[in-house]
């Protein structure tokens, strides 16, 4: 196979297929505009194995899932699930498949048992069969001890498992899981995968599972890769990574700092993609040649070792393709030079506590962020990252402890203190019905910029973030990546010394994420202190230092290498951040006591 796309697996006859899609297209009418979600999608999902539906947010995964579950009707094309025509007989399909939507419908004010009873009633599970099935499912999901607990009181991972249990009260032959692992902590994520494997092996289920995490591809028997409403490829995961075999390397430099090295590498013509991984830079080369020889003129001291290709490498290589080095301005240059806080702690948190009623969202969190550092708060959804963040920014009163930002307490300090920070919220929080220019004008004046400086900064923002082309488009109509650029532009216009980024990359594709991090790196190089929250384990690698949070507490603090070396087990620093996170959670006494 030499083409850029992997051709679909084509041995199974229609009878044996769990699910087939033939030329399926779907569009939506949003604000009088036609949005295309899927165009001419065809594929065959084979029975009794896990097929991963992988792609970044907005690729069309959820639409495809809903079409398969008979919740949406396609504009064109045929769908067949378990040999039933989905379009013609949606009720019959729904009676035979299991479908778990992205935010599974657990009734949070019902207990675990009551939720199971409801779905057993709705799925018509006979009363006599229930005790055995319940016991089996609860044992599998590790929820035995929580039968009476209200679903709303479960942790994020347990909720997700209960959702799966409820979907399975009546064993389906085909199981559709829409992003069951996104935002879930790594331990629960691994447990969810184990449940899925068990279902396939012990009960012979066919599973179609969608995910935005590219690294989950390797866990699937087959992968359907989606992007922009189309299928880029359908094959075994190894077949994808084989395409980039011989092109993946780890580059280390004894002299250059990792960010500088990454920047230089990514500008080199032989390099397609360069990504920080711990102390090293992971490189996908343009071709299969000897990278050592090609890079020698750049710096002869570089240590270059070959590494095994990953699924993400294929994705990035395919999308970046030959048209590399898009003319985008990937580095941001601030006019303000120097750093008033050099060598000091810019952000301090001492025993921060935040309670909501009797719920302890943040429990004695302490850390220090040095000047010019990229500092990460890493944790699953619900770990307390955003709450910590809001307290630091002065958006939420603290229940106990102290915190300072740039030497000031933002809760009590004058508005002038806030001029020193830039904040980019988790959701797109600009005015969607204002144009790009109007947003920039409004926020620049809100940050107190006036006259010539305001004009200059708006021009700077438009040029730096390549927004001129969208000057008078409504911000809500921008492509996702540009929305994010606009948000970053707004946060940076007043040239803050500290930048807060709350889950900045959730929902953007890997390419946009790379571009974003390049920009953030260039800011840090100019002395801006960056505090970033993320639930992408790999993003922790880009941070200078990080804390790992779970259930409101800080479990570990240090550089990424530190954390991996300490908690990576046998693999030590070669472990992935995710492996370190898992062993950290498993050794944490607090958690084992709760479980």
């Amino acid at each position: 196979m030499t083409g850029p796309f992997v051709s679909p697996v084509s041995d199974s006859s229609p009878q044996s297929a769990a699910l087939t899609l033939e030329q399926v297209s779907k569009t939506f009418l949003v604000d009088k505009k036609r949005i295309t979600a899927l165009t001419g999608v065809s594929c065959t999902i084979r029975p009794q194995r896990v097929t991963g539906l992988i792609g970044p947010d907005g690729a069309g995964k959820t639409t495809l899932m809903r079409l398969c579950a008979g919740l949406l009707t396609p504009d064109q094309g045929r769908l067949t699930a378990l040999a039933i025509d989905v379009v013609r007989e949606p009720l019959k399909v729904q009676a035979s498949i299991g479908y778990m939507p992205q935010r599974f419908g657990l009734y949070e004010d019902l207990s675990v048992q009551e939720n199971m009873d409801l779905y057993a009633d709705l799925q018509g599970v006979a009363a006599a069969l229930r005790p055995e099935r319940y016991a089996q499912l609860l044992a599998m999901s590790g929820l035995e001890g929580f039968r009476r607990r209200l679903a709303g009181r479960l942790s994020g991972g347990m909720k997700q498992k209960l959702g799966l249990v409820c979907t399975l009260v009546r064993p389906p032959r085909l199981l559709l899981l829409d992003e069951p692992t996104v935002g879930v902590d790594p331990v629960s994520r691994r447990e969810l995968w184990e449940i899925v494997y068990h279902l396939v092996e012990a009960e012979g289920m066919s599973v179609l599972l969608s995910t935005a995490y590219l690294d989950e591809a390797e866990r699937c028997a087959e992968v359907v890769l989606m992007h922009h409403g189309q299928i880029l490829g359908h094959d075994q995961p190894e077949a994808f990574s084989r395409q980039v075999a011989g092109r993946t390397w780890l580059v280390r430099s004894p002299l250059l700092p990792k960010r500088t090295l990454q920047r230089e590498l990514s500008q080199h013509p032989a390099v397609l993609d360069a990504l920080i991984l711990g102390t090293a830079i992971r490189v996908v080369a343009q071709g299969q040649g000897d990278l050592q020889r090609e890079l020698a003129p750049l710096d002869p001291t570089l240590e270059i070792t070959a590494v095994a290709p990953r699924f993400e490498d294929y994705f990035v290589a395919t999308l970046k393709g030959g048209a590399r080095a898009t003319a985008l301005n990937n580095t941001i240059t601030l006019q303000r030079a120097g750093n008033r806080f050099a060598g000091q702690d810019v952000i301090t948190a001492d025993n921060l506590v935040r309670r909501f009623g009797d719920f302890l969202a943040v429990d004695r969190v302490s850390f220090r962020v040095h000047s010019g550092e990229i500092f990460g708060l890493l944790g699953a959804n619900g770990a307390g990252k955003t709450t910590t963040f809001r307290m630091l920014c002065g958006l939420l009163p603290i229940s106990g402890g102290h915190c300072t930002v740039a030497g000031l307490n933002l809760r009590t300090a004058a508005a002038a203190a806030r001029a020193r920070i830039g904040y980019m919220a988790q959701k797109f929080s600009l005015y969607g019905n204002l144009t790009v220019l109007q947003n920039l004008k409004f926020f620049s004046s809100a940050y107190g910029l006036q006259g010539a400086r305001r004009t200059a900064q708006i021009d700077w923002a438009l040029a730096t973030f390549d927004l001129e082309q969208f000057l008078s488009s409504e911000s809500q109509a921008l492509p996702l990546g540009f929305k994010q650029r606009l948000a970053l532009a707004v946060a940076l216009m007043h040239e803050p010394e500290v930048l807060f980024l709350d889950e900045p990359t959730s929902g953007v594709d890997p390419l946009a994420r790379r571009e974003f991090w390049t920009q953030i790196n260039s800011l840090a190089d100019q002395g801006v202190t960056v505090l970033v929250t993320t639930h992408f384990m790999e993003e922790a690698e880009y941070c200078d230092r990080l804390v790992i949070m779970a259930e409101g507490q800080v479990l570990a603090e240090g550089t990424p290498e530190d954390v991996k070396a300490r908690y990576g087990g046998a693999k030590g620093p070669e472990a992935t951040m995710e492996e370190a996170f898992i062993s950290l959670l498993e050794t944490n006494p607090q958690r084992s006591a709760a479980a």
Partner: protein, 374 residues
């Protein structure tokens, strides 16, 4: 009935009941709000004028003037404040310390004895038109009463061409509580039926539970019944509470049949539930659902049902609009059943209108509810 249908419906009902019990906001809408509304309308709001403060200016306290003004002190409708000059009274009126002025000038006695019409000036604060009209009427009443009394004392019949003999049926003391409390019932039932139902379904959309429900084996009719039955029961519970309060707290007589009241209320509740479900088929956020329910069901029930504002005195166009308001028919049934009795001429046409609306709304809901996300 399809196999398992009963199981699915009871499963849904059990779930709804558990949710109502555990969710304080449902309890608040079903029981606390009716309680509050009844207390406000039973005790707080009264459309009767009682103890209206009125400035009484008697410039020269002659025998006739004193005798006439004495009538004001005995009247339950007025709380007279004696004042010495009209200027003082006008100031008081301007400052809203009194709602009206009765001004007997210095020549009151003399003119009266001369058989001329004595000059009484009545000035009423027209800012509150309702009270102003009442004050005006009551003053006239006192005036005629006094003339009659004077004439009797002189051994004569009052020379008046027409004798007005007034009797008020069904509510002889004209207590507004007696017609407000039954009216409130209509508002309460709208609230439970439409607002609560629209809210709980919108909540299922918001929390993503609806998507999970839709892919189970449940059919549209089972889903709807699973929502209708529990909130129907809840609504009847709210009704019972309100009836109990009306009877024992506000002593509103129930002259018609209790069973007829229950039956017509059940009918109205079906309309309200139909409206709530209908809203929820269009709107998928709790906030919007609440707004739509308040504006399209609750406010009309308040304003256009004839519960406070008389429909006959509305402009013709608005009168036409009231025919679209289910509460109008129910208020009419309620007031008749409570205060008059089983008047079939009123009950039957109004019930027929309610039945038609129930069929229309529930039919629309059945047609519009789909088992998909399109």
């Amino acid at each position: 009935m399809k196999p398992g249908s009963l199981l699915r419906i009871t499963g849904m009902i059990r779930k709804e009941c558990l949710q109502v019990i555990r969710d304080p906001s449902s309890i608040a809408i079903a029981f606390f709000l009716p309680l509050l509304l009844l207390l406000i309308f039973g005790y707080g709001v009264s459309l009767d004028a009682k103890n209206v403060p009125i400035a009484l200016v008697v410039e020269q306290p002659g025998a006739q003037a004193l005798s006439f003004s004495g009538g004001f002190y005995q009247s339950p409708y007025f709380a007279p404040v004696p004042m010495l000059s009209i200027q003082e009274a006008e100031t008081a009126l301007r400052q809203s310390k009194v709602d009206g002025i009765v001004w007997l000038r210095a020549n009151f006695d003399r003119e009266y004895l001369n058989k001329e019409s004595p000059p009484i000036s009545v000035i009423v604060n027209g800012v509150d038109a309702n009270t102003a009209r009442l004050v005006e009427g009551y003053v006239q009443g006192i005036w005629f009463g006094w003339l009659e009394q004077e004439a009797e004392r002189a051994g004569k019949k009052l020379r008046s061409p027409i004798q007005l003999e007034q009797r008020i049926w069904f509510n002889p003391q004209v207590r507004s509580t007696l017609f407000l409390v039954p009216g409130v019932l209509a508002v309460i039932m709208t609230l439970i039926g439409a607002l609560l139902t629209a809210l709980v379904i919108a909540r299922e959309w918001e929390r993503g539970t609806m998507e999970a429900l839709l892919v189970t084996r449940i059919s549209v009719i089972e889903l709807l019944l699973g929502k209708l039955i529990p909130y129907f029961i809840l609504g009847m519970g709210g009704l019972s509470l309100s009836l109990f309060m009306a009877k024992f707290l506000f002593h509103v007589p129930l002259r018609g049949s209790f069973w007829l009241l229950l039956a017509t209320s059940a009918l109205f509740l079906l309309v309200a539930l139909g409206m709530g479900l209908f809203i929820s088929t269009i709107v998928r956020s709790q906030f919007v659902a609440a707004l739509v329910a308040l504006v399209s069901t609750f406010l009309p029930a308040f304003i256009l049902s004839g519960f406070i504002f008389d429909i006959q005195s509305m402009p013709l166009v608005i009168q036409g609009v009231t025919h679209l308001i289910a509460a109008r028919y129910y208020v009419s049934i309620l007031q008749t059943l409570f205060l008059v009795g089983d008047v079939w001429g009123v009950i039957l046409p109004n019930s027929a209108a309610l039945l038609a609306m129930a069929v229309i709304f529930l039919g629309l809901v059945y047609r519009k509810t789909r088992k998909n996300l399109e």
